[in-house]
């Protein structure tokens, strides 16, 4: 199990490959990659985080996922700092004997990372900069767990 909070880019392909390697106890690997989407006019994004809390909050989410699903491994990488359109923000990977567990755990981690890990996004467009508002749908997504 690994949680990494970093400013520098990560290599999504290499991480996926390494994560899926050498696993005869695992039948299913699910990965998620979050990308800075350009809805038109986005110049840049800045992600702020709470250094003292981020890693421990995410580790607690991973620990909970491990108690709820039969996982053989899990990985979370989340960047902070400035990001341009098309850049990769974060990734989650889960490994399990069966696919239902790997999918459920990956979605659980994503839902909790969205709304409970201490990250805040600021978007810069031609009109200026604004903090991204939390979406009700993201908060609602937690209720299914």
């Amino acid at each position: 199990m690994s949680v990494r909070i970093q400013q520098e880019p990560f290599d999504f392909g290499a991480e996926c490959d390494r994560f899926a390697a050498g696993r005869s106890d695992t039948g299913a690997v699910v990965t998620f990659c979050g990308i800075v989407r350009d809805d038109g006019g986005l110049h840049a994004m800045e992600i702020e985080h709470y250094p003292g809390m981020t890693a421990s909050a995410i580790t607690a989410m991973v620990d909970t996922a491990r108690t709820r699903w039969a996982l053989t491994d899990a990985l979370v990488i989340h960047r902070f700092g400035p990001l341009g359109p098309g850049e990769r923000i974060m990734m989650v990977a889960t490994a399990a004997p069966h696919r239902a567990d790997a999918f459920a755990a990956a979605e659980y981690l994503m839902d909790y990372l969205k709304s409970r890990a201490p990250f805040w996004k600021k978007e810069r467009t031609a009109e200026g900069a604004h903090w991204v508002a939390a979406k009700e749908a993201d908060e609602d997504a937690l209720s299914r767990w």
Partner: protein, 83 residues
């Protein structure tokens, strides 16, 4: 009691600094919010709608009625938008 008080995202921008040390007798987070809000307009503005804020005590998310006994660090911020 001395508390490290941290601010993130637009809370940090409204208050104008990322952290400060506060000497306080507040017994709950809500007491601390009242005390800070009474101090200066920038605090009153940042704390004007608590439903738009989240709070962590010693790096654990908690509620505004949480006690501060033994706490060393309190952080205020908007709802998270990671992922």
């Amino acid at each position: 009691m001395k508390l490290d008080v941290l601010y993130f995202a637009w809370v940090r921008e409204r208050i104008g600094e990322p952290r400060e040390t506060v000497d306080t007798d507040a017994t709950t987070v809500a007491d601390l919010v009242r005390e800070l809000s009474a101090r200066e307009d920038r605090y009153a503005l940042a704390f004007s709608d608590l439903s738009a804020l989240r709070v962590a005590v010693d790096q654990e998310l908690t509620a505004f009625d949480a006690p501060l006994a033994g706490a060393r660090e309190v952080a205020f911020f908007p709802p998270m938008t990671g992922g």
